[in-house]
Amino acid sequence: MSVRKIIEEALREGRSKLHEHEAMAVLREYGFPVPEVALARSRDEAVEAAVRIGFPVVLKIVSPSIVHKSDVGGVVLGLETEEQVAEAYDRILANVEKHAPGAEVVGVLVQRMVPKGLEVIVGATRDPIFDAVVMFGLGGIFVEVLRDVSFRVTPVSKEEAFEMLGEIKASRLLDGYRGMPPRDKDALADIIVKVSRLMDEVKEIKELDMNPIMSYEKGAAVADARIIVDGRS
C-alpha cells in the first residue's frame, strides 16, 4: 500500500498514530532499512508469516490503545521455531487481556528480528517556526536521561547529517570504543537524509520516531518505528 493510502486510511479511521506495520510500510517505501513484517490476525497466520519471513522473529501486539507494548507483555523476542511463534501469539493475547483488558487489538505484528547493534534514535517533529526538524541521538539513557541529541532543520544534506552524528557528546561511541567496532556512519547519515525528505514530502506526518535503530559495522536496521499523522497540514 502506498504512503498516501496508508495515511488516508488512518485519518479516515480517526487515528493519529499509524499501526507499526503501517509505519514500517511507509519507511520501506522511502528506502529505509526496515525488517520484513506482517500483520497476523490469528495464530496460524502468525506461524505462516514467520515461516515466510524467516527465523528468528519478534512478535508485537498491534493496538491503538497500547502505548508501551512491553509494559503489558505485548512483545516477545527471539522466536526460533513455529511452535515458539504459536505459543508466543497466545501468550501475547493473554497478557494483553490481563494487563490491558478491553484494549482494541488489531492483530500481532510478526517482524524479522534484527541483530543487536549499537542502539541509536532518529526522529522528526514539526516546529511552529522552522517546520520539520530532524533529531539524532544514541538510544537508551543517552536520549532519555542525558538528552544527548542533535537537531537540524530540513532539508538536511548528507554533510549536515554527518555533522549531526559528530555533534552529540557520545559520538566517540560511533567511532568504536573499548573493543566495540566502529559503526557505519554513512548508513546512519543516509537514514537522517531520508527522514528529512519524508518529512518535507509528506506534510501529514507530524512526528516520527525510529527507536531503536540498530547500528552495525556495516549497515543499520530500524527495529521499532512510530509515526504520528495529522490531517491539518
Binding site: G123, T125, I129, F130, M135, S150, R152, V153
Partner: protein
C-alpha cells in the same frame, strides 16, 4: 523580489521628507525629542511635525494631518496612542508614504484588542507597497547618515561613533542599553533598528537590507522568537548573507520550551531553543551568549580575518594566563598544538633556556618586548598554527606599551587572525588603545579572547576557508 525588498527598506534610512505624527512643542515629550533629534542630526530630508493640536513645533509649521502636508512624504514616524494609529496609517497610505515607523505601544503585546489594531494596519498596507516598522519599537538609528528616531535624549543614551557593526533588535530597551554602552566603550556602529512587534518588516527583511549596506561589515541580531513559519526563510537569508558578512545572533528566551503535548521522544526533546540553535548553526550564524560577548565577537570579526584552521599559538609572558588561555581554547574546540622540534629550535636561537617554547610560548616576566617580536615572527610565519592569542601583561620592567606596535608589526601580512588579552590600568590602558588602533582586538580575560578566536574560526568554517 530581493531587490524590491531592499529598496523598500531604504526609505527608513534615507527619506527625503519625514512626517512626525504626534509632534509636540513641549520639551521632554516624545513628540518633541523625535522632531528635535531629526532636525539636529538628519540633514538629508525635510521634517514636518503633524498634530492637530498645535500650530508650530520647534519653529516649524505643524500640520493637522499627513495628507495636509504639501509635497511628497517618504516616511512617517508615528507616536500617537494605539487606537489612533490605524487611522494615521490609512492617511499615510492615501498620501503615498512609503515607510511608516510606529513607535507607539499598546498593540498585540497588551492583548486581543491591541492585536485587532495590528490586524487593521496589516489590512490597510496590504498590496500598497508601504512598509511598516513596529509597532512598539524605537525605530531606526543611522550613525553615518544621521537618521535617528530614537526618542531617548543623548544624555540618557549616548550615540556610538559611526562604525561598521549593525544591530537589529526585537527589544528596544536592550538595544538602547547596548548602544549606550558601545558609545561609552568607543565601539562604532553603522545602523541600529528596533522592530518591536514586527507586523510587517521583520528580521529577514532587515538582514537582506543590511547585507547590501556598504557601511555594515558585521550584523548583530537580538531575537526572541521568529514569526511562525518564517524559520526556513530566516535560515535561507542568513545563509546567503554570511557569505558576504558575519551574522552574530543573541537569542532571548533560551529556556522556554516548546509545547509539551508530545507523543514521541523527538517532539519531547525538540525545545524551541534546541531547534533554534540547530537552525543558527545550519545557517552559519555565530551565536553570542550575552551582550558583552556580542561586542567581543563583533570586534574580532570586524578587525581580523577569519581563521583557516583550529590551531592556535598562545604567546605569553605569564604562566598562569597561558594555561588558562589553553584551557579556554580547548574547551571551545580549538587546539593549542605542541610546536615542532624544528620550530622550537628556531625560537631557542634567541631565547634563554628557561623560556618555554612548546606552546604556549612563554617569554616569562624576565623577558622583553623584543622577545615577543621574535616569538610572534617565528610562530606566526610557520605553517603549524592558524591563529594567535597574545597575552600582553606589561607590568614587569622589560615590557611597555610599545609592545602594541611590536605585536602589530610582527603579525602584519601573515593573514592569520590575532587577538590579545591585556588586563590592568595605567600603561596597560595605553597599550590596549594602541592595539585596537592597529586593528588588534584586546580583551580583559583570556576566556573572552578565546571566544573571539572561536568566532573567527567558526566564520572561517562558514566561508569554507577553514579546514
Amino acid at each position: 523580489m530581493e531587490a524590491q525588498s531592499t529598496s523598500s527598506i531604504e526609505v527608513f534610512f534615507k527619506p527625503r521628507s519625514i512626517a512626525v505624527v504626534g509632534a509636540s512643542p513641549t520639551p521632554g515629550r516624545l513628540g518633541y525629542v523625535v522632531v528635535q533629534r531629526l532636525l539636529n542630526r538628519y540633514k538629508k530630508g525635510k521634517v514636518y511635525p503633524v498634530n492637530p493640536k498645535y500650530g508650530e513645533v520647534l519653529g516649524l509649521k505643524c500640520y493637522r494631518s499627513v495628507e495636509e502636508i504639501p509635497g511628497p512624504v517618504d516616511l512617517a514616524v508615528v507616536l500617537v496612542p494605539a487606537p489612533l494609529v490605524p487611522g494615521v496609517v490609512e492617511s499615510c497610505v492615501r498620501k503615498g508614504v512609503r515607510g511608516i515607523i510606529i513607535i507607539s505601544g499598546g498593540f498585540a503585546e497588551t492583548g486581543p484588542e491591541g492585536a485587532k489594531l495590528e490586524e487593521k494596519i496589516r489590512e490597510t498596507i496590504r498590496g500598497t507597497g508601504t512598509r511598516v516598522i513596529g509597532p512598539n519599537c524605537i525605530g531606526v538609528l543611522d550613525l553615518h547618515g544621521g537618521m535617528d528616531t530614537f526618542f531617548l535624549p543623548e544624555e540618557k543614551m549616548m550615540r556610538p561613533p559611526p562604525g561598521d557593526i549593525a544591530i537589529i533588535s526585537q527589544s528596544g530597551a536592550l538595544l538602547s542599553a547596548m548602544l549606550d554602552w558601545a558609545a561609552h566603550m568607543g565601539i562604532g556602529v553603522s545602523k541600529a533598528v528596533s522592530y518591536g512587534n514586527k507586523i510587517d518588516v521583520d528580521e529577514v527583511d532587515m538582514l537582506e537590507y543590511l547585507a547590501n549596506d556598504p557601511e555594515t561589515r558585521v550584523i548583530v541580531i537580538y531575537v526572541e522568537g521568529l514569526r511562525p513559519g518564517r524559520g526556513k526563510a530566516f535560515i535561507e537569508a542568513v545563509r546567503r548573507i554570511v557569505r558576504e558578512k558575519p551574522v552574530i545572533v543573541l537569542k532571548g528566551g533560551r529556556t522556554e520550551r516548546g509545547a509539551v503535548a508530545a507523543a514521541s521522544h523527538t517532539a519531547a526533546l525538540a525545545g524551541s531553543y534546541e531547534v533554534f540553535r540547530a537552525a543558527l548553526r545550519q545557517a552559519g550564524a555565530i551565536e553570542a551568549v550575552d551582550v558583552v560577548d556580542v561586542f567581543d565577537l563583533a570586534k574580532a570579526l570586524t578587525m581580523q580575518p577569519p581563521a583557516r584552521g583550529d590551531r592556535v599559538a598562545v604567546i605569553t609572558n605569564a604562566g598562569g594566563p597561558g594555561v588558562m588561555a589553553t584551557d579556554a581554547l580547548e574547551s571551545l574546540g580549538l587546539r593549542v598544538p605542541l610546536l615542532s622540534e624544528e620550530l622550537q629550535a628556531r625560537l631557542r636561537e634567541r631565547f634563554p633556556p628557561f623560556y618555554s617554547v612548546k606552546n604556549p610560548v612563554d617569554v616569562t616576566g624576565g623577558g622583553s618586548n623584543e622577545d615577543y617580536r621574535h616569538a610572534i615572527e617565528v610562530v606566526a610565519r610557520s605553517d603549524e598554527v592558524d591563529a594567535l592569542l597574545v597575552v600582553a601583561l606589561i607590568h614587569p620592567p622589560g615590557f611597555s606599551a610599545e609592545l602594541a606596535d611590536i605585536i602589530a608589526e610582527a603579525t602584519k601580512g601573515t593573514g592569520k587572525p590575532v587577538v590579545a588579552m591585556s588586563f590592568g590600568g595605567g600603561e596597560t590602558s595605553v597599550l590596549r588603545g594602541k592595539l585596537e588602533k592597529s586593528g588588534i582586538p584586546v580583551y580583559e580575560t583570556v576566556e573572552r579572547a578565546a571566544r573571539a578566536l572561536w568566532a573567527l574560526y567558526r566564520y572561517g568554517k562558514v566561508l569554507g576557508v577553514a579546514r
